[in-house]
Symmetry: C2
Subunit: 251 residues, 2 copies
DNA sequence: CACCTGAGTTGACGTTGTCAAGTTGACAAC
DNA sequence: GTTGTCAACTTGACAACGTCAACTCAGGTG
């Protein structure tokens, strides 16, 4: 009986062994897309789809983890392309950042399986080098840096990038893991709000710092609390002293 | 040869069959804690540790997923207790919320395996009823509601709760999944900043709305952009018209 | 032609979740 | 004290998974 999933494949000519690598990658990607479930990504299923026996995968990938990583890398390259496209042609770096953020979230929601594999997988011990997740951090950083250069955002680039990525990732990850939560209809609008929220955070820190007591914990936090007090002074007589509702480190 | 992991266990008396359920749960929890790796949570390992053969687990749990869910539920109850403890004794609901947020993040960082199982696991199809993740949403809501009652926060409770949880979860999830990112030393300080950022967001929306053009997309977003324009008006002559750096829906 | 080397296969091992069928042991009734 | 009976567990097995050592097979080279 011929294998049900695919016809057998002609052997490659010597020197063209790497052709199989591409076919395996395509088979794995298609399998993920169609099943919509990462548990369908089996070495046996991938090999059968590529028209090849299971151990042949090991000719091009050290193990399953390695194959998954390769699939993810390709997906992230797709994301990187989309984020760059979303940002190009927009002069204002703030607007460009908003669009990149929106592209990020949209991508995550449209490719839930790949996103989960990329960002929610336990990192294997001893894994080093350039990973897909590193690329992701870079994509966000590329959106942040022009804002810093133009003075639209102020703050530490690394910290700001991490905070922005955490905010975006939190929304996507929570939505994917808990779709039964009472989400609003317009999750993408919510994503835009999150992007602006994270970006505005640094602006507050930069503008509101000014002269005064040295920011004890972080200028970022101090800026928030200064604005928070200005916006909503405590109305209910709190039992504590002068700055009951303000900031400062948590005791 | 006696099983290496545990001595065999005396059979329970009729009517006390549920005792084994507790022992299995304890064994699974201990296994997770000690190994620090969810791949160590095997039905065989759990059963051996409980001094029982593998299929006995199926007397009290429908399948492995069910067992994992039960373990998680216990862990979340622990988290709920901690969050409530962190919030009690603090009069100011804003400060109470900050402490709850800090407790949430600290818990996630201290129990990475359990957190991953709880919040980063693909939800099984057809899973319904009260899950651990639902409890988690409720814990955050319990911190938000007093702020709304006191007028410290303004906005839709559900949307605000989701946004707060997404911000907190984003930080924890990103840290756990990508520990090699250039994180600052004080992740917990960063968590506090995130909590205030998410909380402040709603305050901005509520205070800055006021009279003016009807908020087209969402009052939440409009508030941000009003403040954003006030704080950093566009300096570089953007090619567009009147409100180049402001908000509005993304075209 | 013979030979070698790269490309892919065969067959197997250990481990996992899961299930049907069997066994054991404590209590109730006689 | 013997006998049922039923809950509490065990035995033995299955299919599927990742992985590996050993084997086969075809294409190009001498």
């Amino acid at each position: 009986m011929v294998p049900a999933t695919s016809r057998s494949r002609a052997r490659a000519r010597p020197g063209d062994g790497a052709l199989l690598r591409d076919e395996i990658l395509r088979a794995a990607t298609a399998l993920l897309d169609e099943a919509g479930d990462e548990s369908a990504l089996t070495l046996r299923a991938v090999a059968a789809r590529a028209g090849v026996t299971t151990p042949s995968v090991y000719l091009h990938f050290a193990n399953k983890q390695d194959l998954v990583e390769a699939v993810c890398l390709a997906v992230w390259e797709d994301l990187g392309r989309r984020m760059r496209e979303a940002g190009t042609g927009v002069e204002d770096p703030y607007q460009s950042m908003r669009r990149r953020g929106a592209a990020f979230v949209r991508f995550g929601l449209e490719h839930p399986v790949q996103y989960r594999l990329l960002m929610m997988r336990p990192r294997s011990a001893g894994q080093t080098g350039w990973t897909a997740a590193d690329a992701c951090l870079a994509y966000v950083g590329e959106a942040i840096q022009p804002c810093l250069d133009a003075g639209v955002l102020v703050g530490d680039p690394t910290r700001l990038t991490l905070q922005m990525l955490a905010a975006l990732h939190g929304l996507v990850a929570l939505y994917l893991a808990q779709p039964d939560y009472p989400w609003p209809d317009d999750v993408e609008t919510m994503a835009d709000e999150v992007t602006r929220m994270a970006g505005l955070g640094s602006a507050l820190a930069g503008r509101l710092r000014g002269p005064g007591p040295a920011p004890s914990t972080s200028a970022f936090a101090a800026g928030f609390d200064a604005l928070a007090e200005r916006l909503h002074p405590p109305r209910h007589g709190a039992a504590e002293g002068g700055r009951p509702s303000g900031g400062g480190p948590l005791p």
